[in-house]
């Protein structure tokens, strides 16, 4: 399966929080292309879980499917509407964008316009628009008569190639994670994995890590690895920064089980997989934070794909990092199963 095609298709898919069902069929299709022998089910608030194999150890990989977006909060008149964020949306990223809404009658195009510079007051030029000032213009799609409060939308962009194995698109957070899970499943087909692998594609991460909590509670795996994205930008002086293209980031810190961290690092070293290290003093801001403390506690690790421009329609990822993360996860699963069966001395 071509990783570039995979991530571009996933990126283009519409799956804002509460509409993850729109992206699930695509994920199911990719998984079934790899192996028909998986059990697909919806659990809890509707997370998609794919189960492969049986017995011990039970290993779960988590990736949230939902992306941030916007929702119509008020109709102003025949042409214009007001919006609210779904998840952490920087209102500045919406200015001058085409947006696409999912309505009862199909897709609807709108524009988030901005007053031309000629008409701007000088003192307003330093003020950033907040959600209270933004509005959507539906002139090009027949006005507001067929759009309602509650209709959800995304910024309308397509994924594109950049230089050096990089892709730019919306929703790389966290379709990159979804891609890692799918590719890791592909890698695993060539390995003698003897245990149960559960791929949990979760809902509602962007609004409170909601899906992962229920999924972890339901699945109760022996080991869990959460896959998400992290920053490829320069970070404050007192924390390590990461570079895209330098490999997946393996996290150590409070929400991480030490043994899982050690196993992930060893797996990366033993298999010559480029990786980077992140130290997290308290919360990681990912599903790891909630998965670790579910029930009687789950041994959890976190692997992140570094990206640029997080939470904008121009998120950038290096394809090689997705492949490396996928290989890391597959080899980790293999190692844990060998350890459990006693064949691997660690």
């Amino acid at each position: 399966m071509d990783t570039k095609d995979l991530i571009k298709n996933l990126s283009n898919s519409f799956g804002v929080t509460s509409f993850e069902n729109c992206t699930f069929p695509l994920i199911e299709q990719f998984l079934l292309e790899i192996n028909q022998d998986i059990k697909l089910e919806k659990i809890g608030i509707g997370n998609l879980v794919a189960t492969y194999g049986q017995g011990n150890p039970k290993i779960a990989f988590f990736a949230h499917v939902d992306e941030i977006g916007i929702v119509i909060s008020n109709i102003i008149d025949d042409t214009f509407a007001r919006i609210e964020a779904v998840g952490g949306v920087d209102p500045r990223t919406l200015v001058g964008k085409r947006v696409c809404f999912r309505t009862e009658n199909g897709e609807k195009l709108g524009v988030i316009g901005f007053l031309a510079p000629h008409l701007q007051k000088p003192e307003d030029k330093d003020k950033s628009p907040s959600f209270d000032e933004l509005f959507v213009d539906f002139s090009v799609s027949g006005g507001t008569k067929d759009i309602n409060v509650g209709d959800i939308g995304v910024i309308n962009v397509e994924a594109k190639d950049l230089e050096n194995d990089q892709i730019v698109g919306k929703a790389i957070d966290n379709r990159a994670g979804v891609a890692v899970l799918i590719k890791s499943f592909e890698y695993l087909q060539n390995l003698k994995f003897d245990g149960q692998l559960m791929l949990s594609f979760n809902k509602g991460e962007e609004v409170g890590l909601v899906g992962a909590k229920g999924a972890a509670e339901y699945l109760q795996p022996d080991y869990a690895v959460v896959v998400d994205v992290t920053f490829g930008e320069r970070l404050p002086e007192n924390v390590e920064s990461f570079k895209i293209g330098e490999g997946p980031v393996i996290t150590i810190g409070a929400p991480i089980n030490r043994c899982v961290y050690d196993d992930l690092v060893k797996t990366a070293k033993d298999n010559n997989i480029k990786y980077q290290i992140e130290a997290v003093p308290s919360r990681s801001g990912t599903e790891t934070d909630i998965v670790q403390i579910v029930g009687q506690g789950i041994k959890t690790g976190l692997v992140s794909v570094p990206i640029l421009n997080m939470h904008s329609p121009s998120e950038v990822v290096n394809i090689n990092d997705i492949d490396r993360a996928a290989k890391l996860l597959a080899m980790f699963a293999l190692n844990m199963s060998l350890k459990t069966k006693g064949s691997l001395n660690v």
Partner: protein, 334 residues
Amino acid sequence: MKELIKNITELYGPSGREHKVREFIKKEINDYVDEIKVDKLGNLIAIKKGSSGKTVLFDAHMDEIGVVVTHIIDGGFLKIEQVGGQYPFNLVGARLNFNGRIGVVGIEGETERELKENYRNLSLDNIYVDIGVSSKEEAEKHAPIGTFGVFADGFVDYGEYCLSKAMDDRIGCATLIEAIKQMKNNHHTVIFAFTVQEEVGLVGAFVSAYDYDVDRAIAIDVTDSLDTPKALKRMSMKLGDGPCIKIKDLASVSDREVVDWIKDTAVNNNIKYQLEVLTLGGTNAAGYQRTKSGIPSCTISIPTRYIHSPHEMVCYSDVENTVELILALSKSYF
């Protein structure tokens, strides 16, 4: 229903001290339900059995916002902290009820400038409460440290509209009580959860469904109403346009399948409804989403003016329509 609304909103029941409300509700519903229990945190849970094989839970929180006495200073004045979200300007000029003792709020200021500054920047730190005593010892008798206070204002019936303190969320409790009394031949098993401590952190709703297998959970709460002069322009809810089906607020995004189910039920039963996007606040729906493996959840909100003030206003037809909607949902297959 007006008598019920009057009685239940006027009860003293701040977060963590909902006893009186619980006792009142128990008496009202006892003869109409198959099972009733109080859990370890004080949530009151009642069940009406059904045969569809599915279980739907409706939640309304019993607690109201309030204040709590943290210090008693010389002269018998009280210092308070908030219990739930309080706007300090709602406390100035209000009468507070400290479990039977009326208190009024004064503003500190040792100089004219300080006083003006404090008027502009009211906070719980620069106000105090006067309960009509002249010494610390006397104050300790009537409102010792740890005493909770609530707004003292009572119910007003305008006919089309009703006004009272604690519509948030006694109006939700009232609709559940009314629905329990009227509910016959429900298809689904319906659980009614009257929960505690919502205002301090959605506490009760995190645990009330623990002993049950719930298919869908719906919180009945209040939401903003934007039909007053120069109201927040980004939201759309209005009194009189029917119960609101919540799409999202800051604590949760509703499950879209549950939203569609409620919408279809309203349409099929000719019940007025509105869709709601709330740009602030949260409800107990967030607690049910996080119960065990997660319950698909939504909120049905009653539009209310002046939430978290001593005088919250609802439209009576919205309340009646909410009851109708709950009854219809108990019979609506999914």
